[in-house]
Subunit: 282 residues, 2 copies
């Protein structure tokens, strides 16, 4: 598969690049951003941290606002930030044009409902197509971890927990822990997956974690701002804690007083997440 | 004067806040952003670094993209980022709607031409009105430094060099060094200041620096990316070097291969600029 370079910026001695490519699984052109730390090449390969963004984001938000480059450069970690949904002509959007369904809101699922199933195959895109593309075109050493924010925190947890052994470590900022039982999740899963709630369980991190064998579970770190406007209505980290207890799995939940749902929060703790992943990626 | 709080985000243990207020000199409502490092209050005051942004920016770009908070928190420096022009109903814009004149492009001058002189008094706003407001409402200790990017680099150099003794130190990223003799400057100064080029000289950092008494000149740091698309046509740092030589003043010009004009460049070297200013602010 071929990549088209659409941006190229030197940053902290490495390179931020944006590419577009034809996605087979999403049946449209997709865009992603990558950070290549200094000194990484075919003779000195590096591990990859995949970052899944939240509602309304593109590949650009994390790269512009997370302040991750200095520490990623120091640790020698490649960062990959995909878009949050398929896009382009012919890609169905929410008919009502809301921010929490359709474009910018793929929820990292494989849609089974019309008309979304033609393009919204974000789970396969993140788990399979994108990593294959990264490994083909960039000097990755095959080790990978995953993190994300809000909808992307949900995505990171679900993908890490459904693919045990594939990601060295999983972290999330303010994740939607239990989309089966919150307004954002119920709206998105109804639209993408239909009315049968049984089919939703494969995309719910509380459901998945509660059934994860403790000896197979990757290290988990979750950071949550305690002044986050979505804490009570959408995020519910205590349910993830309960699922971890049920599975007898260690979960590190850090609760940070005063922090909200924004990139100001993410940028305050991204270094800590990078160092968490570096322990397992190196 | 009263301030209206319009955003409030905890970041790196401190607070990012946005305020709007009625500006007397600009005769309109202005917006600025401030970062208050942790631990700063009326019993533990801190110095202020004023940041002047470039064309098209608002108070938000630096705060979201520069990755300055971690080091500013560590050093105990208050950051203030004003908007780049007056705005709002009745504020004249470029009739042609260009990006480099009018809204988002105040060039940090006091306009003397109609219709711009009604509102475009950014020089007085940055030098006088805004610092008075900051000192009145926030725990600043009275020490201040100034920095900026591109059009804001021009603004920082001009304001630092016209107000000797008031700013402990002056720095700039990719500044427009010689607006008297570059397309951006000629367009802006013609529109705001009129046809008499003599009146432009008060806003040209090369002109000002060449006549600055060496013993009165603040410490100067300029960083320039060598893959900056505007280097040859608009920025011309070598002219600032020549002016410094003429005045027998020390100027540190750092030229960084591969870096462009974006916030990826700024975020790579903002820590260094903060540490430069901290030497003199503390």
């Amino acid at each position: 598969m071929s990549l088209e370079l659409i941006a190229n910026n030197k940053v902290h001695g490495g390179w931020h690049k944006r590419y577009s490519h034809k996605s087979t699984v999403n049946n449209c052109t997709m865009t992603f951003a990558i950070f290549l730390p200094p000194g990484v090449d075919e003779t000195a390969k590096a591990p990859v941290l995949y970052w899944l963004s939240g509602l309304t984001c593109t590949d650009e938000n994390f790269m512009q606002k997370a302040a991750a480059f200095k520490t990623a450069a120091e640790l020698g970690i490649i960062l990959v930030a995909p878009d949050t949904s398929p896009r382009g002509e012919g890609v169905a959007d929410d008919p009502e044009g809301s921010y929490d369904f359709g474009l910018g809101a793929g929820f990292y699922v494989n849609a089974t409902e019309e008309p979304y199933k033609q393009h919204y195959q974000m789970y396969d895109y993140i788990c399979t197509e994108l990593p294959a593309l990264i490994d083909e075109h960039f000097p990755s050493n095959g080790k990978k971890a995953i993190s994300g924010h809000s909808m992307g925190g949900h995505g990171a947890l679900v993908i890490g927990l459904r693919n045990l052994g594939q990601y060295t470590s999983v972290s999330a900022f303010a994740p939607i822990t239990n989309p089966l039982n919150c307004p954002w999740g119920e709206k998105a899963f109804s639209g993408y997956l239909g009315k049968d709630r049984e089919s939703w369980k494969a995309y719910d991190s509380c459901e998945l974690l509660s059934h994860t064998p403790a000896d197979k579970c990757p290290p988990l770190l979750v950071s949550q701002g305690m002044s986050d406007n979505f804490l009570e209505s959408q995020l519910r980290p205590e349910r993830l804690v309960a699922a971890a207890e049920q599975a007898d799995v260690s979960l590190c939940l850090e609760q940070h007083p005063g922090y909200d749902h924004s990139y100001f929060f993410i940028s305050s703790f991204i270094d800590q997440h990078l160092r968490f992943h570096a322990q397992y990626l190196s």
